[in-house]
């Protein structure tokens, strides 16, 4: 384990960004933090978490796939992909770090999504343990420890120092490159911070939330009468899916640039009415079916297909951002009993 004084943290960022592009959580004028490319003057945010997760660095909101040039009856497929640069993302919380593992299960399973894989291969993740999880946090429900985040390098912060510990080869390489700035320290140096976080976590209102209550037959959960009440407030805005670190549904569309046709993919949401719309109609006619799909996917279908791993990391963004205060916690609490 290594440490660096917080007074020198900008030197650390400067050293990283001298080698690779660096993204850190930084506050904008709205007071919320966003992963921002570091340059002189960009300050590390004190906020608990970013508005959006870091998933966009690996699975961008909009990404070009391929171009076409058409002339008469002829079509040419053009590779427009540019070389991907290595980058480092600093300050990823434990919940978001766990979400990468969930996205990996989708995009790196056969057949591998090469666009996502390229970004994963080029990215180094420096996680940062939470100091004060808040009342919308429930990562521990999914077995995530906010005091001990995974990643290529795990970091902890107390009032004076930032502690770093590399967990992977990629992390090792980066720490080696930064070694002139870092001081080696005792393996237990961050234990006090860890203990403090755990104590906070235990006091939080959602600390006893358990997804296990949900592990029922998919038909019994699907057919629960409770969906008919739960979905009512949902206005289908899709905010929950866009701020969600694990939502990975996407659309593929063509855009005529005037010089050719660009095929791109972009985030999509199962909460939208045209998500499953075909010429012959849609199997999810009302918001009830769309609302149910999102939660069934995260809490039932995904674990069924992925060794029991849930499609939620308890980051709490949907709790904070839903305009009608509907969220996955309410769904879990309401349906938990039914699934048994």
């Amino acid at each position: 384990m290594y440490r660096i004084s917080l007074d020198s943290i900008d030197n650390l960022f400067a050293a990283i960004s001298a080698v690779e592009k660096l993204y850190i959580p930084a506050d904008r004028e709205d007071g919320q933090s966003y992963f921002t490319e570091w340059k002189e003057g960009v300050k590390l945010s004190d906020n608990l978490n970013t508005f959006r997760s870091a998933k966009g660095l690996f699975f961008p909101q909009v990404q070009d796939l391929v171009s076409f040039r058409t002339e008469g009856k002829k079509i040419e497929v053009i590779d427009t992909r540019k070389e991907t640069e290595d980058f480092v993302v600093f300050g990823v919380r434990a919940c978001d770090a766990a979400s990468f593992g969930i996205l990996d299960r989708v995009f790196l399973s056969d057949p591998v999504d090469s666009y996502y894989k390229t970004n994963r291969d080029h990215g180094t993740v420096m996680t940062l343990a939470c100091n004060r999880p808040d009342e919308t946090c429930f990562c521990t429900s999914f077995g995530i420890d906010p005091s001990d985040p995974a990643g290529d390098i795990s970091c902890w912060k107390d009032k004076e120092n930032l502690y770093l510990k590399s967990l992977t080869e990629k992390g090792e390489k980066l720490v080696y490159a930064l070694k002139d700035l870092l001081t080696e320290c005792d393996e237990n140096a961050a234990d006090t911070v860890k203990a403090e976080v755990k104590a906070v976590m235990n006091e939080l209102p959602l600390s006893n939330l358990k997804p296990d209550d949900f592990t029922g037959e998919q038909l019994s959960v699907f057919n629960s009468e409770k969906w008919k009440e739960l979905y009512r407030s949902c206005i289908g805005c899709g905010t929950c899916t866009f701020v969600c670190p694990t939502c990975q549904c996407y659309d593929i569309k063509d855009f005529n640039t005037g010089k050719g046709i660009e095929r791109f993919r972009c985030w999509d949401s199962c909460m939208y009415s045209d998500f499953t719309m075909m010429a012959s109609g849609t199997p999810r006619l009302t918001q009830l079916e769309r609302f149910r799909q999102r939660f069934m996917h995260k809490l039932v279908y995904f674990p069924m297909n992925n060794d029991g791993v849930y499609g939620c990391v308890g980051c709490g963004r949907c709790l904070r951002k839903c305009p009608v205060s509907m969220n996955i916690v309410k769904v879990m609490k309401s349906l938990g009993g039914d699934a048994k």
């Binding site: 079509i75 038909l219 699907f222 659309d251 046709i261 095929r263 993919r265 999509d268 199997p283 039932v300």
Partner: protein
């Protein structure tokens, strides 16, 4: 060139056959005149016209045809309307094959097969029927019950008349919804016709057609004593990726593009009723 399943190859439409007023069958080869890829009966492919759209279509030609792929496509949306306007020589984009297939080399072997199709529902079954005809010794008796709104709406009518009806140990029962001048065959809906014909319950059933046809045919088959485990169907959903990642074609925890499109009815009945 990028190697990713989302990136299509260019193919050429060499022949377009008008089957019915709203169904055309497109023959597709690579730019150097070869079959784009091998497939299994029941599998699908993504076809696209850049700038118009991309969608999943069942491959209607049999895997035993080694020269080309064929797609029977009903004009019903944006991309299909565009496809109905193209002429031979037009290039399109193709990627695949996707999905599972009918168990022609396992569960169907040495079985009496009953195919039930309605309208464009024949398209995915034609691949299976012609595969079974090409490997005739592996299967016992073959029955096909096929219906459409009118005789003009029967897809592959010429092939049915000139080949299927002449095949030994294979019966083809055609029906149309309403009486029509020039039609001497059966008149009536497919479900009723299947019940009238009263097939014995040892047959393996393969069914595809409009949901309402499937629903009533299944009710009839149940009355005749058929079990869900003997009945196969192929599903349709909106798809974008074709490989179980874009998240829109699932029925419960199964992705139609990846785990389907072929489902046995007992498997399907364990999934939420959302299709």
């Amino acid at each position: 060139m990028i190697n990713d399943t989302l990136i299509p190859s260019v193919a050429v439409v060499t022949d377009i056959r008008t089957d019915t007023p709203d169904v055309k069958t497109f023959r597709v080869v690579t730019q150097d005149g070869k079959k784009p890829f091998d497939h299994k009966p029941g599998q699908c492919a993504m076809l696209s016209i850049p700038g118009v759209g991309e969608a999943m279509f069942s491959i209607t030609s049999s895997p035993t045809v080694k020269e080309y792929l064929e797609f029977s496509i009903k004009k019903c949306g944006c991309l299909t309307s565009w496809l109905h306007m193209i002429e031979p020589g037009q290039e399109i984009c193709i990627r695949g094959p996707y999905g599972n297939s009918f168990p022609v080399d396992t569960d169907f072997v040495d079985k009496d097969l009953l195919f039930v199709a309605g309208g464009i529902g024949l398209a995915p079954l034609r691949s299976v029927i012609n595969y079974c005809r090409a490997n005739r010794e592996n299967y016992r008796h073959i029955d096909v019950v096929y219906g459409a709104r009118s005789m003009d709406d029967l897809v592959d009518y010429q092939e049915i008349i000139s080949e299927w009806q002449k095949e030994e140990d294979m019966n083809v029962y055609l029906t149309i919804d309403r009486p029509q001048e020039g039609w001497n065959g059966h008149v009536g809906f497919v479900p009723n016709y299947v019940t009238e014909l009263g097939f014995d319950k040892t047959r393996t059933v393969i069914i595809c057609g409009p949901p309402i046809m499937i629903k009533f045919t299944l009710a009839g088959l149940t009355t005749l004593g058929f079990e869900k485990s003997q009945i196969y169907t192929t599903m349709e959903m909106r798809m974008k990726c074709g490989v179980g990642k874009c998240g829109r074609c699932n029925i419960g925890n199964k992705y139609v593009c990846h785990d389907g499109p072929v489902f046995r009815l007992d498997q399907l009945s364990e999934l939420p009723d959302e299709y």
